[in-house]
Assembly symmetry: D3
Homo-oligomer: 296 residues x 6
C-alpha cells in the first residue's frame, strides 16, 4: 500500500515563471522517457514477480519514481503558476494574453488553454502519454534489460534539459533526478547479473547455426567490420544469394488448403484478376489534358 508525505523527495525552488521552460519539462512528466513511464514499468513488473528480492527492489524503485513524478510535476506547476492565474482570471488585456501565449513558444499554449497551467500527462510536444511506452513482458531477464535501457535514456533526457535551463533551482532539481537514474541503472544491472545464466533470455535454445550468423544486408561504400560482426564470433554472410532462403527451403511460401478453401481463393483471384496484356484508359488519363481527349 502506498502512503504519501507532503514533503517532496527533493526541494524545488524556481527563480521565475517560464511557461516555455515548463513545457520542455513535461517531457519527463508525461513523455516516453519520463517518470510515469518509469513508475508504471517497474510497478507492473513487481506485481507479477516471483523472486522476493527483485519484487522488493522493483517496488522500491517504482515508489521512488512516483516521487520523482511529483518533483518534476511540481517544477512544471511552479513555472506555470503565474500564467495559470493570469489566464484564469483574465486580468490582462486579450491582446496581451494572446501575445504572451504566442511568445512563450514550445506548445505551451496547449498547457495553458486546455490544461489551465496544470501539469498534464503529455510530452513537450503535446502527445498524450500512452501505455505503449511501457515495455514490460513478464520475463525478468528481459525486463531488467528494458529497465537498464530506460534508465539510460532518462538520464540523457535530463542531461539535455539541464543543458537548456538557466534557472538555478530547476537545474538543481534536475541534477538530482538525473543522478537517481544512474543509481537505478546500477541496481538493475546488479539484479540482472545476479541471475545466472541470463543470456540468452528464456528457455528455448537458439537454432544452430543461425545464432552466429551476421548477414551483411546493407552493402556498398561504408561497409565496416568490427567486434559486432567479426569472424571470431560470427559467420559473416556477404553473398546476396546466400542471404536468401537460409535453411533448407527455396525461400518460397505455401499453405495446404482444403478443396473448398482452394476453390474460394481461386474464385477471388479470378474475380480480381488483372489483365497484364491490356492497356486500359484510366481515371488519371481522363483527368489529364491528354487523357481527356482519349478517354471521352
Amino acid at each position: 500500500m502506498f502512503s504519501h508525505n507532503k514533503r517532496l523527495q527533493y526541494s524545488v525552488h524556481v527563480n521565475e515563471c517560464n511557461p516555455a521552460l515548463a513545457n520542455l519539462m513535461l517531457e519527463q512528466f508525461g513523455g516516453p522517457q519520463g517518470e510515469l513511464a518509469a513508475a508504471m514499468r517497474y510497478f507492473t513488473q513487481a506485481l507479477a514477480e516471483e523472486d522476493p528480492g527483485r519484487k522488493d527492489m522493483l517496488l522500491d524503485i517504482a515508489t521512488e519514481e512516483l516521487s520523482h513524478l511529483e518533483v518534476i510535476g511540481t517544477i512544471v506547476a511552479m513555472l506555470n503558476r503565474g500564467a495559470k492565474g493570469e489566464l484564469a482570471e483574465g486580468v490582462a488585456q486579450e491582446a496581451e494574453l494572446f501575445r504572451s501565449l504566442q511568445g512563450a513558444g514550445n506548445d505551451s499554449h496547449v498547457t495553458q488553454v486546455l490544461y489551465g497551467g496544470g501539469p498534464a500527462l503529455i510530452n513537450s510536444g503535446g502527445q498524450l502519454w500512452t501505455a505503449g511506452y511501457v515495455d514490460s513482458i513478464g520475463e525478468p531477464t528481459c525486463d531488467l534489460r528494458s529497465n537498464i535501457a530506460a534508465e539510460a535514456r532518462a538520464k540523457i533526457v535530463y542531461e539535455r534539459l539541464i543543458n537548456v535551463t538557466t534557472d538555478p533551482g530547476v537545474r538543481d532539481a534536475l541534477g538530482f533526478l538525473m543522478t537517481r537514474e544512474v543509481s537505478h541503472q546500477k541496481s538493475f544491472e546488479k539484479a540482472l547479473y545476479a541471475i545466472e545464466p541470463n543470456f540468452p533470455p528464456g528457455k528455448l535454445p537458439p537454432v544452430k547455426p543461425f545464432d552466429k550468423v551476421y548477414v551483411n544486408t546493407s552493402q556498398g561504400e561504408g561497409d565496416m567490420r568490427g567486434p559486432w560482426n567479426s569472424d571470431e564470433h560470427f559467420t559473416y554472410v556477404d553473398d546476396r544469394e546466400a542471404q536468401r532462403a537460409m535453411g533448407d527451403g527455396q525461400g518460397d511460401a505455401s499453405v495446404k488448403m482444403t478443396q473448398a478453401q482452394s476453390r474460394a481463393v481461386e474464385a477471388m483471384a479470378q474475380r480480381t484478376a488483372s489483365d497484364p496484356d491490356s492497356d486500359p484508359t484510366t481515371g488519371a488519363d481522363l483527368g489529364s489534358a491528354q487523357g481527356k481527349s482519349n478517354g471521352r
Copy 2:
C-alpha cells in the same frame, strides 16, 4: 537504397489454414515487440548515426528485420488464406461463416472483417501499431542498450509463440526468427562495449552522493538485501525522514512571481476557495434517499 528479392529469407510452409493462430502471429508483425518496431528502431538510429561502424551495423540489422517482417507477415497470410477467400466470395452459408468467425477465437474476426485476411499492423489483440513503441533517442550508449533489451524481448515472444504452435512449418520459421534475435543481441552488445566508457551514458557527471544511494521506499515483510542495494555499492537509506527532502532544502516548493502574477494567483485562489468550516448540502445528498429530505 533498398532492393527486394522475391525469395524469402526463410521458407514458410504452413500445414493448414488457422485464422486463430494467424492472429497470434500478428503479435510479431504489428505488436510492440514485433519486426516493424525492430526495423524502425534501427533504421531511424542509422540515419543520424555519426560512427561509420555502427551506422553500417544498424543498416544491416534494420534491413534484415524488414525481411523478418516479410517472413512473419507471410506466415499470417498463409494461415489466413482460406478464410480470406471464403469470406470474400461468400461461398458458404452466412450461419456457417458466422460460426467459423466466432469459433476461430483470438480476435481473428477483426482480421477477417476489417482487413480481409491480410496481415495488418496490429498486435494479436487488435491494437494499432504506434511509433510510441520505438524508443530511440539519438545517444548511442542509450540506443544500443534499448536495442539489446528489444532483442531480448522479441526472443521471448517468439519462444511463447513456438510454445503454443503445433504446425511444424510455422514452428520451423519461428525458430529461425527467434534465433536471429539472439544473434542481433550479441552484435548490439559488442557494439555497446566497443564504446569506452559507456557508463554512465552521456557527458554530465552524476551529482554526488545521490548516485550511490538506495532508497528503501517499500517497507514491511518482504524487505530484502542483495547486490542491487548492498552496502558495498550503495548507501541504504531506510529511515522515512531521511528519504524526504534529500539535499539541502525542506522538501518544499516555491517560485518567485511578479506582483501581477501573485495578484492573479491570489484572485484565482479566492474565487475558488473552499470553506473548510462549511457543511454544504451536495448533489449526492440531493440524490440519495436521506439527502432528498434534507436538501429540498
Copy 3:
C-alpha cells in the same frame, strides 16, 4: 513523497487461476474507468491546486487510488499466475497450451503471449491506456465535477465485474474497491459545494438570453417535455427557422482578407472549380460494364 508498505490495503485471496476473469479485471487496471486513470486525475490536479484543503484531499485520494491499482493488479496477477508459469516454462504440449489460450477467451491471449501473464496497462479489450482518459483542466469547479462523474462510473464498472464473478475472494476485494468509489464521490461532492458559488464555473458570465434557451433540434414522435426543458426554466425553441442564425446575423460566415489573400483564394477556387454543367465520364464509368464501352 510517496512511500510503500508491502501489505495491501485490502487482502486478495483468489480461489483458482482463471485467465479469462483476469482479463476482465484489466478493465479497472488499465481501462478508462480504472485505478490508474483515477490516481493520475487526482494527482495532476493536486500539483497545481492553490487551495490547501483541496490539495490535501486530492493527494489523499490519489494515493489511495494507487493502492487500489495495486489491489486490482494483484488480483490480475493471482488469476494469471498458473498460466504465466505454464507458458513460460512450456511444460505442457503445444496443442494443449494453444487450446488453453483459445479456450480462456476474452482476449486473454494477449495478456499471456505479449505480457507473460503480468498485469498490463490495457483495458479488457487490449486497448492501451492513454492520458486522453484524464480530463483535468485546472479549474476546481470543473475538475471536482469530473471527479464526481469518474467515481460514479468506476462504481458501476466494479458493480458489473462483481455481477460476472463467482470467485468469492475476488468478489470480496471488488466489493471493497467499489465501495471506496462511493466514499470518494461523497468527498468530492462536499468539496465542490464548499466552493460558493460554483455555478456557472469560471468567471465570465453567460451571454443573455442564450443561457436559458432549449433548442428542440430533434423532432418527431418521441418529443418530450420535462424539467430539463420546462417552460419554468427554459425558453423552448421549437421552430426550425428560429433555431438558425440565433443572434443578430444571418447565419452566414465571412472573413476580411487582404487583396493578396483574396487573389490567392480566388486562384485556388478557379484551379479546382467544378463544372456543374458537365457530364464527365468517370473512373467508375470506366470500371463498370456499361462504362467500359462508353469510356474507351
Copy 4:
C-alpha cells in the same frame, strides 16, 4: 435522421485571417473538451437510452453540438482562409511563406502543410482526436454526471479562448458557444435529479463500513480537515497501520493453484532466481572506467 440547413446556428464574422488564432480554436473542434467529443458523448448515449424523455433530450443536445462543431469549424476555416490560398497556389516567395509559417506560431504549420488550412480533428497541439475522450458507460446516473462535468469543462475552455482573442467577431461567436454549455449543463442537472434516488449510482449497495471511511494517506504539514473528511460524515483513519489490510485479512495475496500450476511457477521462479548473496560484475561495471579493469 439528421438534416442540415446551410445557415449556421450562429453567424461568424471574422475580422482578419490569423492562422495562429485558428489553431487555438482547434481546441474546441478536435480537442478533448470540444464539440465533436460533446456530440458523440450524447449521441452514443441516446442510442441505447430506454427512458423516452432522456433519449429526446440527448438527441436534442447532440444535434445542437454538431451545429456547434460547424460554427467553431467555420471560425477555423475563416481564420485560415488566406493562408490556405497562399500556400496552395504558391503565390509568394518560398522564404516569405516559410517565415509566415514560422511566425504564426502555435503549431499552425501542421494545419497548413498537412491539412491545407482546413479544420482538422486535432486539438491545438496537433493531437489526433480519440474516442478515449468519450466516457459514456450506459448507466444514466453516471452518464448524466459525466455530461454535467463535460459541459463545465467546455465552458471554461471557451472562457480561456475568449480571454486571448481580440477579434470581435470571433469573441462574439465564442460567447454564444460558451453560453450554450451553461444551458446544457442546467438541462443535464435537471435530468439527473429527475431520477430518484440517483446516489449511489447503480444497484449494488456499498459494503459497510467502507463507504464512510476517509483515509488520510497523505500526511505532513498541510493536512487539513473540511467537509470532505469531517467527523460528521466520515471516519477519519489517520493511523498508518489501520490504513493497511482493511477488512479481515493480513493485506496479503494468495491464489490456489493446481499441482501442475505450482510446479510450473516454481520452475519459472528457479530459472530466473536472483542470488542475493552474489556480487556480480555487471555491464555497467564493464562500461565504466573502474569496471573495465575489473571486468576484463
Copy 5:
C-alpha cells in the same frame, strides 16, 4: 445547422439479441471504414471548400453519413439490448452471466462491461476511433480521390458483414447502407471529373523524366510486366546500379555546417566512437555460461 427527426433513414427490425453480432457491427460504427469516419471526412472538407457545388455535395453526404451512423448504432443497440439489461440489473446468477459474456465471443465483453451495452466508438476489436482515420488534406483533387476510395472500402466491409449475418432485419438494413456507399462513390467520381484537369493533382509539374520511370526494385521469380509498368507508358529501370543515385549526384548526403557545429558533431562522434578493433567482453558474455568464466 443540423436538425434531427426521430424517424431513422432506414428501419431496423432485429430478430433476436446477439451481442457477438453486435460487436461485429461496431466495425462500421467506430471502425476506420465506418460511418463516423465517413461523416467527419466529408464534413471537415466541406467547411473549407471554396467551390459552391462541391461544398453542397459534401454537406449532403456528410449529413447522410451521420444518419447512417444512427442506423448502424441502432442495430448495435438492438442486438445488445437484452444483455444490457441483464448485466445492469444482475438478474441472473454470476456464473451464468460470466458464461454468457464468455460464450458471446468477439470482444463483446468489453461492450458489456465497459460500455454497458451501448454503442461505443470502437471497432469490432475494441480499438478506439482516432482522427488518424480521416485523411482530408484540403486539396479537392486529392480529397475526392480519398472519398472515392473510402466509399469503396466501406462497401466491402458492409458486404463482409452481410456475408456473416443471418438475421434478416439486420441484413436488410446492411444492404441499404452498403448500397448508399455505391451511390456516394458515383457522386464523388462525377465531382472529381468535373474538375479539369485533375491529374496530376496540385500546381507544381512533375520533374522530368522521373514521372515516367518504373523502378523494378523487387526482382526474382515472379517479376511481371503489365500496363502498370509497360514500355508504352514507362521507362522500366531494371538495373540495380541505375536504380541508385538517380539524378546527377552520387547517392550521398551532405550538409554545410558552421565551424561551431562541425566541432560539436565531431566531439559527439569522438565521445561515442566505437573501436572496431576491440574485442570487448559484453553483458551477454557475462550472462552466458561461457562468458561468466571469462568476464569475472
Copy 6:
C-alpha cells in the same frame, strides 16, 4: 527479402542546418501522408495478394517507398545535424541553447530534446505515427483506389513543402520525391483498370433503387445541382419526409427479446426512470447564488 545499398536513391545536399525546416520535413517521414505509411500500405497488401502482377508491382513500389523514407529521413538528419551535436555536447551556454531551441519554432524542440536530433516517426506536430494511417482492407479494387488517393495526397504535401523551402538541395530532393508519387499513381491507375469490371467493388450487387438516389440532406441557400446529383444519373430526393424511412418501414427500430430479457430491460428502465413532472433542485441550483437559498 530486402537488401540495402548505402547509396541513396537520390542525393541529398543540404545548404545549412535548419531544425525548423527539419521538423516540417517530418511530415513526410512519420506523418499520415508520409513514406512509412506508403511503404506499409503497399507491403501489407502485397503479402496477401493472389494476382502475380499486382503482387510484383506492390513489392516494387513498397520497396521504393522504403528508399524514399531513407531519403526524407536523411534530409531531416542533415538539417538537424548541427543542433544534434550542440545539444548533446552542451558546447554553448544554457541560455543560448534555450534561445536556439525556442527560436527554431515548429515543435523542433521535441526533436532535439527527446529524439536527440534524429528523425523520429512523428509528423511535423509531434503526433506519433499510427497504423491507423494504413487503410488496406484486402480487396484489390478498393486497395488500388486507396493507393491512388494516397499518392495524390503525398504529391500535394511535397508540393507544399517545396513551396516553403528555400534550400536548393532540399528542394531538389523534394522535387524528385514528389514526382515519384505521380508516377506511382499512374501505375496504380493502370492496375485498377486492368481489372474488369472494378465497379462496384466486391461481389454483392447494390440494392435497387438506392444506388441511384441522391438525398439532398443539406438545404437552404447554396443548394446546387451538378453531375454528382444530376437527374440524368440520380433520383434527387428533396422532400424531407421522403428522405426518412426509406424502404418499407416506418423509420423505427425494434428487437425481439426473450421474456427474461424484456423483464431485465424493464427493470433497468424503471430503476433509472426520470420523472418528467418533477422540478428537482439540482447541484447547479445548489451551486449558484439563487440555488443556495433554495437548496439548503
